[in-house]
Each structure stands twice: as structure tokens, then as C-alpha cells.
Symmetry: C2
Subunit: 290 residues, 2 copies
């Protein structure tokens, strides 16, 4: 079936080293160290479709480095860039994800999320003072009020409503023609996963749902750092009332239609999301349930 995209990083995050200045400095001086090559926020990709790593010796001395983790005793770093936070996805990164091995996509995703977070937290939200990196790049601390800030992830629910053997898919007007996916939205303060799933389906499609079951989860490194939580909800009706500000269209599809989309069959009725998107995993799991 395949694991969700951006999971399966082989790196050990070595949380205990982040708080240990001496241990971190030793890694910064370890000749085995590797530094992830990036073009802005996009990955550099080799002719073989793999991530490109530089040696520590090739990297400017004044770069602020994040310790991504250890693999076979070798420290892996990524520099904190000063590029814009929340940069949109480029065609280059989409092409790269088509060739990167799953575990390398997971490393890249973690690096991208962290850089994005640093760029968006150069100042303290509490007092407005400048912040500085600490904890081996896994935090920023305010120079003025001392508040410590830690990399955040935003939970997003992504789900299929199910009714009489069919599931609800939707599309946004900005997507390529014919492409559909699962509905999705940010979980809000004061909600459980199950409540957010029901609210989002009702807001976007006007459908009330009862039982919600969790399927799987995935980190998503675009537009910040998101935790995608994939669920299937039992709809109480198939009558749609689409919020056209959110969705251009939504419709119910059968397992055969989802299968055709996943196989990119000539007679497919919609275009499916790419394999590294959790909506693809969610479709595969639902089809396999039959």
C-alpha cells in the first residue's frame, strides 16, 4: 500500500544533543558532517534524482545550521536561509518529489518546514523583540523578554465523507483542470480531530456526518509545517450544498472511479493527487477496504 509521503526519515533526531552545547559543537566539527543542498527552499537534485549533500568544509563558516539528526553516526545539517517564509510550491519541487526516494523526501520535508518556521519567527510574538536560534536550530529565544519559541506544526484534517459506497471529493478553481482531492481544512482551537472533520465537511459541502474514523497521518512541508490527519466520516445524506468560496465543485465517486483515477486510466473521471500527498494514500486505503 505504501507509507504516506514525507514519512520514513532514517535520521535519529537526537533530542538530547540539542540541549547540550558541547555535544552540538562536537558535531559541528565532525568531518563526517553533511549539509543539505538547497536552491532557496527547493531541493538540489542530482542526476540520479537524489538529494545533494555538501561537506561541512564546503559551507560558509557564518551559516546558522540546524541539526536535522544523525544517520550512521554522521551528523546531517541544513542552513537557515533568509528567504521568505511560506514561499509557494515551485514546479521544481514537484518534479523533485517525483524522483526522490521516500526517506529523502522525508528529510527534505523536515528541513523545509524548519527553515520556513525560522523565517516566520525572527521576532518575538509576545514583545516584538528580535529572536536568536538556540537548541541546535530547534528553537528561537527572544533577546528582549527571554521567551522561548519552538517549531510549530499546524494540524489539518483531510477527509472523505462516505455515503452508500461512494465518497465525496472536491476541487479548488486554482487546481489543474479535472483534478479532485479529499476535502481539507485547519483544525481550530477547542476542537477534536473528529469535530474538525465534521465541521469542515459541513462548511464546505453542507453534509452532516456522524462517526469519524482515523486512517493515517503525514507531515506536509508546504505553506509552513502541517500535520495532515486523514479520516473517513460517515455522511448522513448525499445532498450537497457547496460553499463556492472554498470549492469550485464537489461530487460523490465510486470505488471504481477512485481506482481508475489512482491508475490514471484512460477512462478516469477525475485526476488524483500525487502519491506523496496523503489524499492519495487515503484513496488507496478506502479502495482497499472494499
Amino acid at each position: 500500500m505504501g507509507a504516506p509521503g514525507f514519512t520514513g526519515s532514517p535520521l535519529d533526531r537526537v533530542d538530547h544533543i540539542r540541549n547540550d552545547g558541547d555535544a552540538f559543537n562536537a558535531l559541528l566539527n565532525d568531518w563526517r558532517g553533511r549539509v543539505l543542498g538547497l536552491d532557496g527552499l527547493d531541493p538540489q537534485v542530482s542526476a540520479e534524482g537524489r538529494l545533494v549533500w555538501q561537506s561541512l568544509a564546503d559551507v560558509a563558516l557564518d551559516l546558522d545550521l540546524i541539526l536535522l539528526g544523525l544517520h550512521e553516526e554522521r551528523p546531517h545539517f541544513v542552513p537557515i536561509h533568509s528567504g521568505q517564509g511560506g514561499a509557494p510550491r515551485s514546479p521544481a519541487v514537484w518534479r523533485a518529489l517525483a524522483t526522490l526516494p521516500a526517506e529523502e523526501a522525508a528529510i527534505y520535508g523536515t528541513a523545509r518546514s524548519l527553515i520556513d518556521w525560522h523565517n516566520g519567527h525572527r521576532f518575538c510574538g509576545q514583545c516584538g523583540g528580535p529572536t536568536k536560534t538556540f537548541r541546535a536550530g530547534w528553537g528561537r529565544k527572544c533577546d528582549d523578554c527571554g521567551k522561548e519559541h519552538f517549531p510549530r506544526t499546524d494540524p489539518v484534517v483531510i477527509m472523505l465523507a462516505e455515503y452508500a459506497g461512494r465518497v465525496l471529493i472536491g476541487r479548488q478553481s486554482a487546481w489543474p483542470a479535472g483534478n479532485y482531492s479529499a476535502l481539507a481544512g485547519f483544525l481550530e482551537p477547542g476542537e477534536s480531530v473528529e469535530e474538525a472533520v465534521r465541521r469542515e465537511i459541513f462548511e464546505e459541502a453542507g453534509v452532516r456526518c456522524g462517526a469519524v474514523r482515523y486512517v493515517t497521518s503525514q507531515p506536509w512541508p508546504f505553506g509552513g509545517s502541517q500535520l495532515m490527519i486523514a479520516c473517513i466520516a460517515q455522511a448522513e445524506s448525499d445532498i450537497l450544498n457547496i460553499d463556492t468560496k472554498e470549492l469550485e465543485d464537489a461530487r460523490w465517486v465510486s470505488r471504481d472511479e477512485v481506482r481508475a483515477a489512482l491508475e490514471d486510466a484512460p477512462n478516469k473521471s477525475f485526476g488524483a493527487p500525487p502519491p506523496f500527498a496523503i489524499a492519495n494514500t487515503l484513496f488507496r486505503r478506502w479502495v482497499a477496504e472494499s
Copy 2:
């Protein structure tokens, strides 16, 4: 079995009104409006153990109000206080939660999380400029660079490792003597729920786990705004290697021991978390599985 704490709010969040200035202003002038009574970040509680609501007419005109939602057409608000963000739990709020009906605890939790978020985001993390409330209190916008900030929730995994019919519980030194709970920790960028569960159990207790199954989720309004994601993981061994910086103790307990703790039996071997904590729900679900 009971739903997890802080879920089941009867309020309709009316997302469409948040972006509609005219509709929001109409609600601010609706005589049916109710404003949640707070003492700092703690709830005001009536003699009957219920939340206290004021009428809009009783509230100072210059208060910035968050639209919590509608219930039976009546708008519900909470003022954005200027108190310190991330205030610790007080004994008063713990007492209140023992008497508040579940749906009122859910409303209070949402309000507290939002106020906490506003207090921590008075300045823009990107440029350091001052931010102002917008979207009916469900966002802040930077005066200087225009960046929009939205209320955040931090996913936290909370889990039982399971081995040979027993589960792993732990305690922190700051807790009341004899109290134990499930292990827990913040999910990091680049991790799935399942990966975070395995990493946290290994970091805190030295136990490797295989399959992870999701059980349930809960919003948690203390120390910011957290999404608690409760899971059970299959341990590969019961040999512990406890990180004493994180945990004072950890040990394996049987279903009978968990049952005795939940029932507060005289012969209980540990003190269980309160019913509004998801660890309590997780224990109940695990006991019911037998």
C-alpha cells in the same frame, strides 16, 4: 464510555460570519449576545457549578471581543484580555472543571486557548510590527508588513506502549505523589503521528515500538492550545531505560491495576489522571478492549 474532555461544544463556529464585517457588527449589537465571565484566564463559576455569562450591555464598550459562535441564534463572545500568555493552571480552574458540564468545559477551553494565543501574538513574528485583531477575533494582522496570523494548535501525542497485556505509565516529579499518566510529547515538524509516538516512547523510556493505533483526540487549553492525539503502540520489549530528565518513574501496569486506578479503589497502585484529561479516556478505552 464518555467523550474526551473539552469536546462537545454546542456552539456553531459560523466561519462565514468571521469574514463578514457587517454580519459580525450586527452580532455585536444583538441584545441576545452573551459574554463569558472570566477571572484572568480562569472561568467564573456559578453556585450551581456552571459558567457565568454577562449580557453585552454589561461589558465595557472598548473591549475587543472574540466571536466564539452561535447557539440558538444567540451570539457568544469572550473578551481578549491583556493577561500573560501561557499562564499556568490554577487550582481554581481544576476545581471548576470538576463541576462544569462537558459542553461548558468545551466552550471555556476554546475561549481560553484563543485568549492565550492573542496574548502571545501581539507582535508579528516575521517583522516585529504590532498586530491587530481581525476576523471576529480569529486572527491578527500585522500593521507593518500585512502578514496575517491565525490561531494555532500544537499537536501532542499521548500514548500507551503495550506489551504482554500491560501498558507503560510514567510520572513527572512535579505531579502529586503516586500519580501516573500516559507518556506524551510534542509532535515535531517532519513527523507523522505514528513516528512521533515511537520517538517519544523511545526517548522517554527506551522502548522500541512497532504498530501504532490511533484511539481518540482532544483539545487541551492549558499552556497554549494543544491537540492531544491519543494512541496505543505495540512495544517490542518491556525493558525500560528511563530518561530521568523527562520522567521521575515509568512502569508497566495490568488492566486490573488501571481499572483500580480509574475507580480510585483503596488498593489502587497509582493515581489516575482526572476524567477531563484524555489519558483518562485512553485508559478507559484500553481497559474496555479486554
